[in-house]
């Protein structure tokens, strides 16, 4: 059996929402007892409607938020016990909006090499070489090294974000809606790139999405979340052909089909 990369058990995360100065606080349970297991090389998709706790879960898996209860283990060690820089080498994010995930004040080269500089690599020749290699890997021309994010298109920016995530060769990549801010033709390019990189670098992905077409195309395993809980998890084919939970069925029915007759049949 393949190595377990992510092992999360019973994660609970509450947010306290202030109702006003004298009205006390209300608790919102964003993630409610979710357990996940992802094996090496798998692509787990987490689907669900907006506000169901997908992004909170992703932040917990990245170590950016602390869960209130439950345990998260990455590659066999507890996430709280992994030092910050080690954790950064293990798991990296790719964000939804490539317009906000790149610092507009920094050149592409400086953005891509930041993870190496943070890890204490001092030699600028080493960064530059590694950055150019990574840029080549994600399909960015070397001349963009000195350009700024606002000179790039959305798809190119997303490639920069992918290059930044991959430069220190992490084992796990968590993609939060990696394509939803891109136009359709670019979406498929980015998805194919992510797929190729997975094979080439032996990566494990967690993809958060509400685009079921993306999920069907990419994922090996799908988890459905609804109001902070994981209501169903199955292999992709199985989930799409034989959904168990009523929310999953509704979700699958909401896919628009290009054939109007088929759409009528479903309803």
């Amino acid at each position: 059996m393949a190595e377990v990369m992510i092992d999360a058990k019973n994660i609970v995360k509450d947010f306290k929402i202030s109702k006003g100065l004298f009205r006390g606080k209300e608790t919102l349970r964003a993630v409610d007892g979710v357990s996940l297991q992802v094996l090496r090389g798998e692509i787990l998709a987490i689907v669900g409607e907006s506000g169901c706790g997908k992004t909170t879960l992703a932040k917990i898996l990245l170590g950016l938020l602390q869960q209130d209860s439950g345990t998260v283990e990455l590659c066999g060690s507890k996430i709280e016990q992994i030092p910050r820089l080690e954790l950064a080498k293990m798991v990296q994010p790719i964000f939804q909006d490539p317009y906000s995930s790149l610092n507009p004040r920094k050149s592409i080269g400086s953005i891509i090499t930041l993870p190496m500089r943070v890890q204490g690599e001092k030699n600028s020749d080493v960064w530059k070489k590694k950055a150019l290699q990574t840029m080549d890997l994600v399909g960015l021309p070397a001349r963009m090294f000195d350009q700024y994010p606002n000179q790039l298109s959305g798809g190119q920016r997303q490639r920069v974000a992918i290059a930044r995530a991959l430069i220190n060769s992490p084992k796990i990549v968590i993609c939060d809606e990696p394509t939803s801010a891109l136009d359709v033709s670019v979406q498929s390019q980015i998805l194919n790139l992510l797929n190729d990189l997975r094979e080439e670098l032996n990566l494990t992905y967690v993809i958060i999405s509400h685009n079921l077409a993306v999920v069907e195309h990419m994922a090996t395993q799908v988890a459905v979340m609804y109001f902070g809980e994981k209501v169903e998890e199955a292999e992709t084919d199985q989930l799409f052909s034989n959904p168990q939970h009523s929310y999953t069925k509704t979700l699958l029915n909401s896919i628009l089909s290009p054939d109007p007759r088929q759409r009528n049949k479903k309803n």
Binding site: V91, F95, S100, N103, V118, Q119, D146, Y148, N150
Partner: protein, 294 residues
Amino acid sequence: MTDLPQITSTSPISGVKSRVLRHKGMMIGSTIVVLVVLIAILAPLIAPHDPYHQDLLNRLKPPVWDSRGTWEHIFGTDHLGRDYLSRLIYGSRISLLIGIGAALISGIIGTFLGVMAGYFGGRVDMVVTFLITVRLSMPVVLVALAVVAIVGGSLQVVIGVLGLLLWDRFAVVMRSSTLQIRSMDYVTAARAVGCSTTRILMTEVMPNVVNNLIVIATLEIAHAIILEAALSFLGLGVQPPLPSWGLMVSEGKDMMLFEPWLITIPGVALFALVLSVNLLGDGMRDVTAPENRN
């Protein structure tokens, strides 16, 4: 990947340079500011007379454009017979020193408080917001007058008092722009990459709020120059015989009806300096904004 049209890459510095040259307001503002700075630095070399030298026989000489004026005293002389041009030239030193000194002190205080409040939020934000409210509820001129009256007026005291009073705008603006930057994904990405909080603040947050900082700093330099003039006018700022522009207006006000140049000359100088500092600030914001890079 499809072939992209070749983009000729320009170096960042040459891009900024061409944008500066195209920005008229900034060109005018920076020319006057540079001129005043040069005058202030080179004051002993260009001033025709000693600004402190009194010549009671040549009191209240009119400037050269008046029919009674002479080239000896281009801007005339004041009520003690001191050369007005020389006093104006030396006065620029006081105005710049106070403007820059006060903006520097208040900039450090305000930026520190604002960035901390915006980035950490929660309790830190509550404390800083409270401090801002306290500061805003104090009338600057009255507090400055009271402090100067107690401690005694001198250049250092005026810079210190204004520096400790003018940080509110820095704090408010820095807080709100940091709040906005903090929620950007690149800050989250920097955290995920393992950056320390200090590093995130210095390399991710600060560069993106610094253009606001420049604008506020220039506004506050102008504000401090005007406040110094007001304090000196009221007799509680820079003390005579130091040649401050505000003090010159104050000393000339008794003779305003018959010798109007005594207040118009330093007044115009103040107006031109404050206006050009503001033009320069606006220009710098326009030129450094990333969305104007192309």
